[in-house]
C-alpha cells in the first residue's frame, strides 16, 4: 500500500488570516522564531500497491478539480515512501 500526499496552500498573494493568527500566538508562548506563518491543507490518499503514472495523473486532476480551488490555492502531489 502506498500513500499519495496532496499539499494545498493558499497562493502567496492571498491573505491568510488563520496563518496570521497563529503567527501572532507564537510569541505569546515564548516562540520568537517565526517571521511569518501560512496555514494549508494536507490530504493523504492511500492506494493499493505502488501508484501508477495513470493513478498519479488522476490524483493531479482531482487536486485541480476538487481538492484545491485554483483561483486561490496551489497544490503539490507527491508519493510518500
Amino acid at each position: 500500500m502506498a500513500k499519495i500526499v496532496v499539499d494545498v496552500m493558499l497562493k502567496p498573494e492571498i491573505l491568510d488570516p488563520q496563518g496570521n493568527a497563529v503567527a501572532s500566538a507564537l510569541p505569546r508562548l515564548g516562540f520568537t522564531f517565526a517571521t511569518s506563518v501560512r496555514q494549508g491543507k494536507r490530504f493523504e490518499i492511500e492506494v493499493a500497491g505502488e501508484p501508477t503514472p495513470a493513478q498519479l495523473a488522476e490524483v493531479e486532476k482531482a487536486a485541480e478539480v476538487l481538492l484545491s480551488n485554483p483561483v486561490i490555492e496551489n497544490y503539490v502531489v507527491r508519493v510518500e515512501k
Binding site: 493558499l10 498573494e13 492571498i14 491573505l15 488570516p17 488563520q18 493568527a21 476538487l66 481538492l67 480551488n69 483561483v71 486561490i72
Partner: protein, 222 residues
C-alpha cells in the same frame, strides 16, 4: 413565475428565501440537492447556510450535487440565478462567477446589519432598485472576503459587474468593498449579505431586501 429554492444538507436560509420569493409575488418551488429535476422553474436561488458543513472549502462539495449540474446548464442558457452568502460561494466554486470567497480578514464571524450601495440595476435580481441606492440588510458570514486577481478585478470594474458594494468600513476584507457581482451575461448574481432576511420590518432591519425578489418578477413579466 416559479422560483426554485435549493436545499443542500446544511442549508439554513431556504425557508426565509422561499418566504421572500412569495413576498415578492412569485411562487417558491422547493428543489432538493440530490434531485437534478428543476421542476420547470423560471429562476433559481441558492440560499445561505453551511452546505456539507463547509467541509473542504465553502461550496466546494455542493458544486457537484446533482441539482447543480442542471442549474449550471440552465444558467449557461440564461436562466436567472441568485446565490446568497453560501450560495455565492457555490457560484464561485462552480466557476459561474469569477473569484473566491475567503476567511474574513479579522477571522471573526460577522453578524450585523450592513449598508450596501446598489451599483448595477441591469440584472434580473436588481432591476427594482435605482442606481446608487443605499439599502440596509443583514450580513452574516465567516468566509465573505471576496478575492480575485488584479486582471479579474479590473474586468469586473470595467464591465460594471459589481452589483453592490459595502458602505463604510470594509467588514470582511473584500477587494474593492465588493458585496456582490454578476457574470458577463448578467443573469447570475452572487451576493454576500442577506436580502431574504430584510423583507419586512417585523423580522428584519428594513424591507429593503424585498427589491431582489420583486426584481425577478419584473424581469419575467417584461
Amino acid at each position: 413565475m416559479r422560483v426554485g429554492v435549493v436545499t443542500f444538507p446544511g442549508t439554513l436560509d431556504d425557508r426565509d428565501a422561499a418566504r421572500a420569493v412569495r413576498a415578492g409575488g412569485s411562487e417558491a418551488i422547493e428543489l432538493w440537492h440530490g434531485d437534478a429535476d428543476l421542476k420547470n422553474v423560471d429562476a433559481v436561488i441558492l440560499p445561505g447556510g453551511f452546505s456539507y458543513g463547509d467541509y473542504l472549502r465553502c461550496g466546494a462539495i455542493s458544486r457537484f450535487a446533482p441539482v447543480m449540474t442542471s442549474i449550471i446548464e440552465q444558467a449557461n442558457k440564461g436562466m436567472p440565478l441568485l446565490g446568497i452568502c453560501n450560495g455565492f460561494q457555490v457560484l464561485c466554486e462552480s466557476h459561474l462567477l469569477p473569484g473566491a470567497l475567503t476567511r474574513n480578514s479579522d477571522l471573526h464571524f460577522l453578524c450585523k446589519d450592513q449598508v450596501i450601495l446598489i451599483e448595477n440595476t441591469n440584472t434580473p435580481w436588481t432591476s427594482s432598485f435605482s442606481k446608487g441606492q443605499e439599502i440596509l440588510i443583514p450580513l452574516k458570514n465567516g468566509e465573505g472576503s471576496f478575492q480575485c486577481d488584479d486582471a479579474t478585478l479590473a474586468l469586473l470594474e470595467g464591465e460594471g459587474r459589481i452589483i453592490a458594494r459595502y458602505v463604510g468600513e470594509n467588514p470582511n476584507g473584500s477587494r474593492n468593498l465588493i458585496a456582490g457581482i454578476t457574470n458577463t451575461r448578467g443573469n447570475v448574481v452572487g451576493l454576500m449579505p442577506h436580502p431574504e432576511h430584510a423583507i419586512d420590518t417585523l423580522t428584519g432591519p428594513s424591507a429593503d431586501g424585498l427589491g431582489f425578489f420583486t426584481s425577478i418578477l419584473n424581469a419575467m413579466v417584461k
